[in-house]
């Protein structure tokens, strides 16, 4: 399985905070996972198509080429604004 998390504006736009998806060849990279999620509807496309979208794999910032394995935690969120 892949655990997929959404935070802040991205979470609100897609209307959910987490998903569990089976790992598959289509989801072997962040890019593949994103492409599938964007097909879920216009809100998903809008939220995950943002040029400043940040991706973290296993709680470390990653890029869209990052490989995914079963058991990975993948998070999508906007640029951070703490402090």
């Amino acid at each position: 399985m892949l655990r997929v998390l959404f935070f802040a504006r991205v979470r609100e736009q897609v209307g959910c905070d987490s998903l569990e998806l089976p790992w598959s060849e289509d989801r072997a990279t962040v890019h593949g996972l994103l492409s599938g999620l964007c097909q879920r509807g216009p809100q998903w496309q809008a939220a995950l198509g943002q040029p400043n979208l940040v991706v973290a794999v296993n709680q470390r910032v990653a890029d869209s080429a990052a490989r995914l394995q079963a058991g990975d935690e993948v998070a999508f969120f906007p640029p951070v604004t703490g402090g």
Binding site: L5, F7, A8, R9, N52, A56, Q59, R60, V61, A75, F77, P78, P79, V80, T81, G82, G83
Partner: protein, 159 residues
């Protein structure tokens, strides 16, 4: 050199900056530098009645600790600590506290500045402001990234 004591706390409850500062100092602390960030109240249509802070549990603590470890690798620190609140906060309330203890002021000032710059650009927190006009997510600022970019990767440990 002894390993610096590094602590990270993410919490909903309010904190007392004075008590945190006292806890940070030790007999060897020639310098203690602290920073407290407060919720800005704003005015008129931009008034903030409540600030809501979301974070990514797990990654937040991990990234804050990594920032403290980076600071301790650059400067000879005795201790460094971060406390960051999450949940709902009112105007004027302290939201973040950073404290650094070192033998001398130079490294304490520099490390505190460094920690805040990376906290603002790397730690997964998101602010949402509530006010008379409704609620809106705070946009990230390019000036924060520029400040963080001032710190070149350290190769000699001198920062």
């Amino acid at each position: 050199m002894a390993t610096a004591a590094l602590t990270v706390q993410v919490q909903e409850q309010a904190f007392d900056p004075g008590a945190l500062q006292q806890a940070l100092a030790s007999a060897d602390s020639g310098a203690v530098v602290t920073f407290t960030g407060h919720v800005r109240g704003g005015a008129g249509a931009a008034a903030v009645t409540c600030l809501e802070l979301e974070h990514y549990p797990g990654m937040t603590e991990r990234s804050l600790l990594a920032i403290l470890e980076d600071a301790a690798a650059r400067w000879p620190l005795l201790a460094a600590a971060v406390v960051h609140r999450v949940g709902r906060l009112g105007p004027g309330e302290p939201i973040v506290w950073v404290g650094v203890s070192a033998a001398h002021r130079g490294e304490a000032f520099a490390a505190c500045d460094f920690i805040m710059d990376f906290l603002k650009t790397r730690a997964p927190f998101w602010k949402k402001e509530h006010g008379p006009a409704g609620a809106a997510w705070v946009e990230s600022r390019g000036s924060d990234e520029e400040r963080a970019a001032r710190w070149q990767p350290s190769t000699d440990g001198a920062g």
